[in-house]
Amino acid sequence: MKIAVAGKGGAGKTTVSGTVARAFARAGHEVLALDADANPMLGVSLGVGPERTELLLGVRQGLETGEVEHEPTIEGMVERFGADAPDGVRLVVASRIDNDSPGCQCCGVSPDQLLRELEGGDRRTVICDLEAGLGTLARLEPGNADAVLVVANPSAKALEVARRAIEIAEDKTEVIVLANRVRDHADLDAIRAVLGDRELIVIPEDPSIARADRDGLAPIDLDEDSPGVTAVVALVDRLAGAPVPA
């Protein structure tokens, strides 16, 4: 299975992606977490820590600097450039822009290409944290992802981005909308007013997740029973079907 996570910056994509990945792993899946953001942060919410996240090499940059001699396969890149995260999750950073001459983005390995070519299937679950905005979704083709999670928090800007993301993605794949950081009915009403009467996975405002974000920890490590983490785990249980026996 391949799942991409989209939304406005700050809506909670990375926090959701990291927690979804960990929850799939705990349900017995082999999980590949693909960080497709040029500003890669997924390591933080997976529990790798900000310092180690900062040291992870992007596949694109690794190939450019000649880290691999032969024509690499996609699986070879995952093997060579991936890092281990808790619960057996394998983390791969597609590309990071960290200098003022990052080169032509049309050439070389792109996050789009990794998302397209990585195999999900029965063997493994790929969770892809997209760059903020709509670029990757606009280029997504049917079959690139089995589902897109659109993350929206109750602000006018995040909802406008979510509305557009749903419009772009729903012709291509299954779309699941996550209403994040919901405090009360007024928040839910604000979300429904923009996104209409569709199913919403509600993730309540959660002080434990806020603390994890503040301190650079994985929410699932800080408190796996907090209301927000519980809501994400319930979604994963639904997507994963019955837990895989160990």
């Binding site: 500003n39 900000p50 602000s155 406008e160």
Partner: protein, 251 residues
């Protein structure tokens, strides 16, 4: 002043950029606001709503014989601003690259290319010398690295008190400082007290030049899609933006 506002998504870039633009315009500056974000944000914080009558720059561009985009003959930077910038409150002029439509990026590629060429030539226009230019950049490092705000001399890096926001802030400040003559300054946003300011300063490794308090008025403006300076003009966050503007003027 020549400014660009950068940072992680959700850090509050557009709120800061939109409010700074309004404050400067009210002080009598001629302000050109520059929006290269493909997502809505700045228009809301300026007080224009989500979908103002757009003047997309598509008409400014054409493809040459090799299929590459270029500005149409006769369209220079001054003409482009005159024709394609739209009016925002307090006399601000707003130039936008364009927003991603349902069909994807293809329909706005002309507009996007025209915008990039125009911002690179804003420095050629004598009559703009006295203007304040203020860019609101999309989340992350991409537009800094690819030089979407060549007019900017000072980059305002917005950081809220979270590890990810600080990490993103450090990354973008590092890229800005690789370019000669460019400054990067940090501001903290949505702080609930001195401890949050200290937390941000510890995470980014230096002092911030302003700290905007977490503010119910601004939060409500965000929820409603209104300009903070219209919805909560007396809020502490707006007052801190006024101080920030004064600090930047004296840098």
């Amino acid at each position: 002043m020549r400014l660009a506002v950068v940072g992680k998504g959700g850090a509050g870039k557009s709120v800061v950029a939109g409010t700074m633009a309004r404050v400067l315009a009210r002080q009598g500056e001629r302000v050109l606001a520059l929006d290269s974000d493909l997502l809505p944000g700045l228009t809301l914080s300026l007080g224009l709503g989500a979908d103002p009558a757009l003047a997309p720059m598509g008409e400014a561009a054409e493809k040459d014989e090799n299929g590459r985009w270029r500005l149409k003959p006769g369209i220079g930077p001054a003409r482009a601003v005159q024709r394609f910038a739209i009016d925002a409150p307090d006399g601000i002029r707003l130039l936008q690259a364009g927003k991603t439509p349902r069909e994807g990026l293809e329909p706005i590629m002309g507009s996007f290319n025209a915008y990039y060429r125009v911002v690179h030539r804003l420095g050629d226009v004598k009559s703009f010398e006295s203007w304040t230019m203020l860019g609101d950049l999309p989340a992350g490092p991409r537009h800094i690295a690819f030089d979407w705000a060549p007019f900017a001399r000072t980059y305002v890096v917005v950081v809220q008190p979270t590890a990810q926001s600080a990490l993103a802030g450090r990354r973008v400040a590092r890229i800005v400082r690789m370019r000669e003559g460019l400054k990067a300054v940090y501001i903290a946003n949505r702080v609930t007290g001195k401890a949050d300011v200290t937390h941000v300063e510890r995470l980014v490794g230096e002092r911030v030049i302003a700290a905007l308090p977490a503010d119910d008025g601004v939060a409500e403006a965000e929820r409603l899609g209104l300009a903070p300076i219209d919805h909560a003009p007396d809020s502490p966050a707006v007052a801190e933006v006024e101080r920030l503007v004064a600090t930047l003027a004296n840098l």
